[in-house]
């Protein structure tokens, strides 16, 4: 097994290279040298500088923080539920965030002021977190949490469908459909400014849970015996996921799969330790999202291919391959 520090350094290096790469790609067709020159030195009359600073730079930063959030929350959820099939969407957080955004899109509020949509999405996610905490209540077991999450996801999904169903305006409906596919294309600095504090807060909460997640490897009862406060741990995980994943949905729509597949891939390199997997998975998530966002723009430069669509198209076969390999090893 690779040394942990080396792996972290490699992932961080890869994320940096990919982030740099995303700056150089886009429909404006600016040469790499001009791109960088404009980004660093161009003045406000330079159209290339505007493209770089207002479009590509926020898109790159958005990809970075969306990836970190998805990878980290995915690893935390798998660690918390002790289940390699868990992902942040399981809590109903992303579904509820999407519902908030969809309501704003449908009502036309999104057009009135720019931050209405991300604010509604984050609001939806936090509301979901509160419902989860109330419903799963005083029970210390994570089973109640999974069941409540499944129910909440279903409810948010149904309400989102209802909005689409009743939508009198086909344009609004298609706008909603496209938004839900997930994309980094329209991220602005204003949106980043709104989402980033929530993401960072979520990251801190999830990292604070790492020792408890390690202890939880031995089961809930043994972890409690080791001094882990299970209720506090659940609070950390739910709020951490809600804040970071709500903020992801707010700026990028619904991006699935990364949270499931990244911890799964990296567990083979890091080993099973849930605490160590958090940082590796955060960096791995950033790599996967940035790479996919490059692929989106290289495969169909002028078709506005959606990140969420490509992610699932790459991720699902990869995941099937992993499952197949695991099955063969066990046989």
């Amino acid at each position: 097994m690779m040394s942990y520090r080396l792996l972290i350094a490699l992932l961080a290096g890869l994320a940096a290279v990919l982030a740099f790469g995303t700056l150089l790609i886009g429909p404006a067709g600016i040469s790499p040298a001009t791109s960088l020159a404009s980004l660093l030195t161009g003045d406000s009359s330079d159209i290339f500088a505007i493209v770089m600073r207002e479009i590509r730079l926020p898109r790159m930063l958005g990809g970075l923080v969306v990836g970190i959030s998805l990878g980290l929350a995915g690893a935390a959820m798998q660690g918390y539920l002790r289940n390699p099939l868990a992902e942040p969407g399981l809590l109903g957080v992303s579904g509820s965030a999407a519902l908030g955004a969809v309501l704003v899109l449908q009502s036309g509020l999104a057009g009135l002021f720019g931050l209405a949509l991300p604010m509604a999405a984050i609001g939806g996610a936090l509301l979901a977190a509160i419902v989860m905490l109330l419903v799963s209540g005083r029970s210390r077991s994570s089973l109640a949490l999974i069941l409540a999450g499944v129910a909440l996801s279903a409810l948010a999904g149904a309400l989102t469908s209802l909005v689409l169903n009743l939508s009198p305006n086909p344009f609004a409906a298609s706008e909603i459909m496209f938004w839900m596919m997930g994309s980094l294309a329209n991220i602005s600095f204003d949106q980043l400014g709104l989402a980033l504090p929530f993401m960072v807060a979520g990251w801190l909460l999830l990292f604070a849970a790492r020792r408890s997640l390690d202890a939880l490897s031995l089961g809930e009862d043994a972890a409690a015996g080791l001094g882990v406060n299970l209720q506090q741990l659940r609070l950390l995980v739910i709020l951490g996921c809600a804040a970071s994943i709500g903020a992801v949905t707010a700026i990028a729509g619904v991006v699935g799969f990364a949270g499931l597949v990244v911890p799964h891939l990296l567990r083979r390199l890091v080993g099973g330790e849930p605490g160590r997997l958090l940082l590796a998975s955060a960096l791995g998530g950033a790599c996967l999202i940035l790479a996919t966002d490059i692929a989106v723009r290289l495969v169909a430069p002028d078709r506005d291919l959606k990140l969420g669509v490509v992610m699932a198209m790459i991720g699902a076969p990869l995941f099937l391959h992993l499952v197949w390999q695991t099955g063969r090893q066990e046989a």
């Binding site: 009862d221 043994a222 001094g227 406060n229």
Partner: protein, 252 residues
């Protein structure tokens, strides 16, 4: 500090699981907690640690979580290790309550001693998922011992193990008691309990039915009343031997 309970009761779903349990463990003693299925052995241990709501007094349950974890180690019956982690990592988890209190060298020292006590040095870098049931049970006991708590509570640590592993684990608990710890182990194997226990507590329907040396607790009357069995109890040069013989003709 060891474990002291006063009038501890546990209710679940309107039913009394434990009623009026008062006991205190003594340092240097291996106490075996025995009783039929459903007698309340697991509930007693979990309530004592504050992992289950109860009424009455437990000196451990009132402590802050980390402090309690340093005072009392807890080994649940389920031998769960969720991820393919190394044996060393699993044993290190036992030192979690001591983070920031013990130095890194002390932490590693305790882990090394626990690995050595359970003869796991050779397996330290193996993944727990590759181990046999008996090896896994040893890893978890090593995790418990690594915590160097003064009071150890282990719930059926020998269940499902072969005789050599059972004897090996009981010797570990006995050794820990000889070193000054108070050890409470719940067991279904009365023979094992009779051989190793300094003191035996017989639990029946949520109450302490008998408490004392194995020979007095495993009296024919107690065995008939609680387990509905007859048994042979004898002294050999290797210590007491207990063998259940027959089921009494009545429902238990």
């Amino acid at each position: 500090m060891t474990l002291a309970l006063e009038h501890l009761s546990v209710q679940r779903g309107g039913r009394a699981i434990l009623s009026g349990i008062s006991l205190s463990l003594r340092r240097g003693e291996l106490t075996c907690l025995v009783g039929p299925n459903g007698a309340g052995k697991t509930s007693l241990m979990r309530a004592a640690l504050g992992l289950l709501p109860f009424s009455g007094v437990s000196n451990l349950a009132g402590l802050a979580e980390a402090e309690r974890a340093r005072m009392a180690g807890w080994l649940p019956q389920e031998r769960e290790i969720a991820w393919p982690v190394s044996v060393r990592f699993a044993v290190r988890l036992g030192r979690l309550p001591w983070r920031g209190i013990s130095s890194a060298a002390e932490q590693e020292q305790a882990v090394a001693e626990a690995l050595q006590a359970l003869e796991l040095e050779g397996l330290a870098d193996r993944q727990v998922t590759d181990l046999s049931g008996g090896e896994r049970a040893r890893v978890l006991v090593a995790r418990l011992l690594a915590g160097s708590a003064d009071c150890l509570l282990a719930d059926e640590p020998t269940a499902g193990l072969d005789p050599a592993h059972q004897l090996g684990l009981m010797e570990q608990f006995q050794a820990r008691a000889r070193n000054g710890a108070a050890v409470l182990v719940s067991l279904h194997e009365l023979g094992l309990a009779a051989r190793h226990a300094d003191r035996m507590i017989l639990l029946h329907k949520g109450r302490i039915h008998a408490d004392g040396p194995p020979a007095s607790v495993l009296s024919p009357q107690n065995l008939a009343d609680v387990f509905g069995i007859t048994a042979w109890f004898g002294e050999t040069e290797k210590g007491p031997v207990f063998q259940p013989l027959a089921r009494l003709d009545k429902t238990v």
